[in-house]
Symmetry: C2
Subunit: 385 residues, 2 copies
């Protein structure tokens, strides 16, 4: 189902030849309306890929007819020529749909620093336009945006009154705040204006996709796009829509986490007792990025000292003598010192929960990360060769 679960959308995924593997590498998702309201969030990296620079302008209009996506090349750090390639891709898509290029979002993913083979990409876009469908197209599109993802990621939910939200995402390494190396397209047939979609998307991604930090690296290409066709005729309550969208984004986040490059553990870092939300997220990220801790979890070693060492690098409000840490429910650190017997911690399951209690207030946040493994090193030391 994916992005074509809601009414009013068609999609396609085709082989254009950008990937040496011969796998699908160009996807197209078209909104047939009646509404074209849309919102998007992008990477916060200051080094932005050409498609991000383009799409940031497009989304300002609040109206999107289609998104064209390619894997097999990020089109980042490619200079003015690379930007022209993005422009040409949007123009080609617009021409095929008999639209203005100003309503075409472009997304790219793959290696940074190389031009896209336009002689393959543009025919691929035409092929995708010819194959647009509601049945099958959604899954093919989700497949076409994969890079090192081992599986396609899709999600959908139905809301009150029968409107739908559908989604696809890709992302395996370089998952970090600001949605790194992540492309995601979310569709809905709810009838909502762009301003509401923007608020809902920012709210939903802030507590889901933006809290996934697999390796602390931030990508140049991240884009999460939300398009609404209005085809269901339902205008849901904003709070209800936001909650359902958050569920969909949470589902995608979980899939990205489990499929992160080389990971053998899915780690939730729950920070509680924080003085404010910012502190909770900051501490969560600091723990999530600690390579030594990530190695320890890989070795199934409940090395809570590394958690405290990570917490101590932040400016969050806490007293070192009042920090508590639980690993998979066992409070191995109490009041900044050793607590319950660390031998009671069972780290064999894939899911690991590290709870950090700052004892400084009522706020909390969860950040997700993975363990650091030899497989991660292998996969990322041979990526571009």
């Amino acid at each position: 189902m994916s992005v074509t679960a809601p009414q009013g959308f068609r999609a396609a995924g085709v082989v254009a030849g950008l990937k040496n593997s011969g796998a699908r590498d160009v996807a197209l998702v078209v909104n047939d309306g009646p509404s074209r309201a849309a919102a998007a969030v992008f990477t916060r990296n200051r080094v932005k890929a050409a498609p991000v620079i383009w799409s940031e302008q497009v989304i300002k209009g609040g109206s999107v007819r289609a998104v064209v996506l390619n894997s097999g090349g990020a089109n980042a750090c490619t200079g003015p020529d690379g930007f022209q390639d993005t422009h040409a891709t949007a123009e080609k898509t617009a021409e095929l749909l008999e639209e203005s290029a100003g309503e075409i979002i472009v997304c790219s993913t793959g290696l940074i620093g190389e031009r896209l083979p336009m002689d393959k990409l543009l025919p691929g876009v035409a092929a995708a336009a010819a194959e647009l469908s509601r049945t099958g197209g959604g899954l093919a599109a989700a497949d076409a945006i994969r890079t090192t993802d081992t599986v396609a990621k899709i999600a959908f939910r139905q809301g009150t009154g029968g409107y739908m939200i559908g989604a696809m995402a890709k992302g395996a390494g370089m998952l970090a705040p600001s949605l790194a190396t992540m492309l995601s397209v979310v569709t809905t047939d709810a009838d909502l204006p762009a301003g509401t979609l923007d608020r809902a998307l920012r709210s939903a991604t802030a507590v889901t996709l933006d809290r996934l930090d697999s390796d602390g690296a931030m990508s140049t290409n991240d884009t999460v796009l939300l398009m609404a066709s209005g085809a269901s005729g339902v205008t849901p309550d904003e709070a209800e829509f936001t909650a359902l969208l958050t569920e969909v984004c949470n589902d995608l986040t979980r899939q990205l986490l489990v499929d992160a490059e080389g990971a053998s553990k899915a780690i939730a870092i729950e920070v509680v007792g924080a003085a404010n939300d910012f502190d909770a997220v900051t501490v969560g990220r600091a723990v999530a990025r600690n390579n030594l801790l990530k190695c320890a979890i890989h070795g199934e070693d409940p090395n809570w000292g590394r958690v405290l060492a990570a917490v101590g690098t932040t400016e969050a409000v806490f007293d070192p003598d009042q920090l508590n840490v639980a690993i998979n429910g066992v409070w191995v650190c109490r009041d900044g010192s050793f607590g319950d017997d660390r031998d009671k911690v069972d780290l064999r399951p894939r899911d690991v929960t590290i709870t950090v209690d700052l004892s400084a207030g009522p706020n909390s946040a969860t950040v997700w990360t993975t363990d650091l493994t030899a497989d991660y090193v292998h996969e990322n030391s041979a990526y571009s060769t």
Copy 2:
């Protein structure tokens, strides 16, 4: 020669039984004067080990008679009882030297979150005091502070007029800003007051030990101590002394870099063209901490896109379209896009230099790091078991 290269110092390193391996694990370095002027810098981690909390108070007096160091346990996150253990260690050392505990610095390194076996440590301190010597003691002390270090690290230099600076250090993983998992004792027989030593030490470590970032993790125990005996009778010019001290610290930094856990590459990140020093160091650290880049260098892949992606996460002054990057002298990125042929980059040597030109000003800084390897993962996933 190590810390006993300068006149006025004796040292020892003994087996107290803290390490299961049976290797040396307690070291003592004593300043026999006539001066006892001293200065120190410590970790900036807010979760500080008991010996750091103790020693921060001692150094305020500007006078240090001796430093007692142990490997085999960090005495961090051990609560009030752990602090009493540090206090007892200082008292025992003071008693053996017939001194005040208020002039005894204590350093510990090893696993966080476990009490030290005081029934072994205190007899070890007594054994070390009985073995203090100028010949042999310096090397034994350098050996005794090793944890996962494969070799003992020592350095010494002679200054104008014949005064000496000697040093020992340990540190293998968790090397990060704020001197992580690093213990270093530097001695000199120059005759300088504590205030001068403090300025010189801060200046020297800021551009050497503090710019080594092997894995972004910050330790709870880092201490760099400088003790001056005045025994040479020479009072060097402050600038000259600072320069010589910087040389010694640079020598130690290089040794720590080459011996970092699991590393196969020693990477210098030279940031040039920065608007100010802060920007230069910030960008250097961001690049040094990028796991994806560290994996690429391990794979001998000149993946400059990952350099730009790391630079783009900072708030430094730069225009993405004016960034230049050289890897081992080949300018693979010019004006934010691809430059010279990346196939010209030879990444086979152990030493790798990544030059980032921000094109934003006249300032520069160098930060050192290592590659990310499967060996690093293996070593750190089994450390505490």
